[in-house]
């Protein structure tokens, strides 16, 4: 009796685990879904659910990438620009065999530069990645000042097609989560990211290094992973809007950070979970989908997003993990 209630207490407060406060956002997401199912007839329809997944997918992919950086106490503000940049490159008049590898290569380079600035040049993550946001946005606007061009049909099919009776976006989600799961939980790398973040959060940057963990290399890799996921989200969006758009990624980095934070990942580093991030994405996606179904203006939606973020994060005590 006592043990079950304390287990539940731990779940509610996120104490005693490194996963952060994910259970409360889960309840919020569940309540939203149930409420929408009960009050609107369209919500449960197959087409709406498919739409929900497709709409939420870029956010899911970018948020999962962002989480790697947040886990080591960093932030990546450049991913919105990377998304726009990717759509612009895919809409160039070049074969996909060139543009897709090229765009991932460049995204990796962008991430490596972010990581280098943060780890070696000791630039604060916000400043380093904000600079990168401007640089990439500038280049994107040179490539494509206004939206236009066309994206090859193959990319379009990857987003609009279906396989085994399921829309393809579902598979994008599965692949994203599998890769992230393997990196975070099925490898030493993920454990080392948590260790580095835990050291940063408790005020000793060398803590993980003293265990023989190459902290700088691992942090740099986290920025590379984040950028690569952003490029993946960019490919997805390009397939959806079928053109290059320099503004499509605008503010996506903030949505990704919002989703990560709502999912219980601590921005000071070291605490968070992949399922928490999925839940954070679900909350934002349901919010947007539900508001559309209820015909509420998107401006109210933005305000509610802010209230939600503040409420959920305020419930997590930042000193929860020791020190």
């Amino acid at each position: 009796m006592i043990s079950s209630s304390s287990t539940f207490g731990k779940l509610l407060t996120g104490r005693g685990s490194r996963q952060g406060l994910w259970f409360l956002p889960f309840l919020i997401a569940l309540a939203m879904a149930l409420w929408l199912a009960a009050t609107t007839s369209q919500f449960g329809q197959w087409s709406n659910l498919a739409n929900l997944v497709a709409q939420g997918m870029p956010l899911l992919i970018t948020a999962v990438g962002q989480m790697f950086v947040v886990l080591v106490g960093g932030l990546d503000l450049s991913i919105g620009s990377v998304v726009s940049f990717t759509t612009a490159v895919l809409a160039l008049d070049l074969p996909v065999t060139v543009t897709i590898p090229g765009v991932f290569l460049l995204a990796g380079l962008i991430g490596a530069t972010n990581g280098y600035c943060v780890t070696r040049l000791n630039v604060h993550p916000i400043v380093a990645t904000l600079s990168m946001q401007y640089v990439v946005l500038g280049i994107t606007r040179v490539l494509r000042p206004v939206s236009g061009g066309s994206v090859p049909d193959s990319v379009r099919w990857l987003v609009e097609g279906s396989l085994f009776g399921l829309p393809l976006p579902v598979f994008w989600g599965i692949v994203t989560l599998l890769v992230a799961w393997k990196l975070l939980y099925g490898s030493r790398y993920g454990l080392h990211l948590s260790a580095i973040g835990g050291g940063v959060a408790s005020g000793s940057n060398d803590a993980a290094r003293n265990f023989g963990i190459p902290a700088n290399r691992n942090i740099l890799l986290a920025y590379v992973i984040c950028s690569l996921f952003a490029a993946l989200a960019g490919v997805f969006l390009a397939g959806r809007i079928v053109s290059g758009d320099p503004n499509v990624g605008l503010l996506m980095e903030l949505d990704a950070i919002t989703a990560v934070a709502i999912g219980g990942t601590q921005l000071s580093g070291g605490v968070g979970s992949l399922h928490g991030t999925v839940i954070g994405v679900a909350v934002l996606a349901l919010l947007s989908n539900g508001m559309n179904l209820l015909n509420i203006t998107p401006f109210v939606q933005t305000a509610i997003k802010g209230v939600l973020l503040m409420a959920v994060v305020a419930l997590q005590s930042r000193k929860k993990i020791g020190l």
Partner: protein, 497 residues
């Protein structure tokens, strides 16, 4: 018998300042080797070199006769040298098992982590220390003592035969110190070589076999502890005897600077009263955690007692006072409060000596008035307290413990406070600085101030104070003149109450 580890002719300089000069140290299996010296004598630097945190400028480390060098702490651990540092090095957001295997995780199926093996080996290592902690517990959920035990288990699991314990008891209570000592003895019986750094004499004599003393980065000597007495050990460390540590007592027969009556710490504890007179140093003694700190902190709102009345400068204050404004109101009445943990509760570590000293002066002025520079006040305080720093703008965090403590004291001595509440005045402070701090407190009392002090070190209270209140079970059980008090007498008063 061969030495598992020998350090020979080690020298190390940081920038311009020499931390170690030609120091040698040989460890023997099955002995606890005390390393002593004032703060800044080079003990920690020497151990950090052995643990691979720093590399020596010259000299060599020999492991079982062969010369070795450690690039990082991990390399030292793999060579069998385990360290429990003053600043704990475990990661709070990881489980015990993860901490034990961090950086050397076993691989499991499909290239993942062998969590089951980690868990089982961790359980085994903890069991060898008689601990029944769950390996999946987060380190942040452990007490400080448990964290230290986990670090020791970490060393045992890594098959270390050299254990370095750098001030392991600084943050432990008496019960945990006992458990720790038991573990240390078990390690000694298992034939491990142990280095033990501590400022506490009683501990050194209770568990150590050999002592090496460092002074100003140089070796003073290595002796068996059976040949030593506390007085001769201190003489070896500072070239001065124990008696010289404490200044002469004062008269202490002025008017009451503070009178507290009917203080009940908890709803069910017995009320008590006490006074501190002008020119007097009064101490709260007794076993640890019996309410001494609560009684003191109740005055400044850092503890909320059931009830009580404070008379101070003709004002009557009813307790409890609010936590938010307690210290501010205390200061407005010419009081000062020097908390126990100078790093977390007292100093602004990243700020300069000057800013730390004038913090209380600024706090007493209206918030929107332009800040005065107070350079003369800072210079005078630094001179009077003999604060050794490169200048007023030196960062406090970089100073030695003794100088930090003097800066904290200086903050309140620079105001016109005439009543000082001070917790653990010399925690983590070397012997030389201790003597200076005692003199500073005595001078303050002689100039008409009053001091109320609490300390875990009973000898310190006896030597420093004029009058002692023995506190036990959240109430005062005895009052005695410090001159006539003994450790035995205080313990007796506490336990027979």
């Amino acid at each position: 018998m061969s030495h598992p580890i020998e350090m020979a002719g080690i020298s190390k300089a940081f920038g311009g300042s020499v931390a170690l000069r030609d120091v040698s140290l040989a460890l023997t299996p099955g002995t606890v080797h005390a390393l002593m010296g004032e703060n800044g004598a080079g003990k920690s630097t020497l151990m950090k070199i052995l643990a691979g945190v720093h590399q020596p400028d010259s000299g060599e480390i020999r492991r079982a006769g062969r010369t070795v060098s450690f690039a990082n702490p991990r390399a030292a651990l793999e060579a069998g040298i385990s360290t429990v540092f003053q600043e704990l090095s475990l990661l709070p957001n990881m489980t015990i098992a993860e901490n034990m295997f961090l950086g050397r995780e076993p691989l499991g199926r499909f290239g993942g982590i062998g969590r089951r093996r980690m868990r089982e080996e961790t359980k085994g290592a903890l069991a060898r220390l008689g601990l029944t902690l769950d390996p999946d517990t987060l380190v942040s959920d452990l007490s400080i003592a448990e964290r230290q035990f986990v670090e020791i288990a970490h060393g045992i699991d890594a098959d270390a035969d050299v254990f370095i314990l750098d001030e392991p008891t600084a943050a432990l209570n008496a019960a945990d110190v006992d458990v720790l000592n038991r573990h240390i003895r078990a390690l000694r019986e298992a034939g491990k070589a142990i280095v033990y750094i501590s400022h506490r004499m009683d501990e050194i004599f209770a568990i150590c076999d050999v002592v090496t003393v460092l002074k100003d980065g140089q070796l003073v000597g290595t002796r068996p502890l059976t040949e030593m007495t506390p007085a001769s050990l201190i003489a070896m460390m500072v070239g001065r005897e124990l008696e010289a540590l404490f200044p002469e007592r004062g008269e202490g027969e002025g008017a009451a600077a503070l009178a507290v009556s009917g203080l009940r710490l908890h709803a069910d504890s017995k009320p008590f009263s006490f006074t501190v007179k002008k020119g007097e140093i009064v101490g709260f003694a007794g076993l640890e955690g019996q309410g001494q700190q609560k009684a003191l902190r109740a005055l400044v709102g850092q503890f909320s007692p059931a009830e009580g009345t404070v008379s101070r400068r003709g004002n009557t204050i009813r307790l409890p006072v609010p936590e938010e404004s307690g210290v501010r109101r205390w200061q407005a009445l010419g009081g000062a409060f020097v908390p126990e943990d100078r790093k977390d509760e007292g100093l602004f570590l990243d700020h300069s000596v000057g800013q730390n000293i004038v913090a209380a002066l600024h706090a007493a002025r209206p918030a929107l008035k332009a800040a005065k520079r107070y350079s003369a006040v800072i210079a005078e305080t630094m001179r009077r307290l003999n604060i050794k720093a490169s200048g007023q703008s030196a960062t406090v965090g970089a100073l030695s413990g003794g100088n930090q403590q003097k800066v904290l004291l200086g903050r309140y001595l620079a105001t016109d406070a005439d009543l000082l509440l001070i917790e653990e005045p010399t925690r983590g402070v070397d012997v030389g600085a201790k003597a200076e701090i005692y003199r500073i407190l005595r001078d303050f009392a002689k100039a008409g101030g009053a001091v109320l002090v609490l300390s875990r070190e009973t000898l310190e209270l006896i030597g420093l104070c004029d009058r002692l209140y023995v506190i036990h079970g959240n109430t005062i059980v005895s009052e005695m003149r410090a001159q006539e008090a003994t450790e035995h007498g205080i313990l007796d008063a506490a336990l027979s109450a």
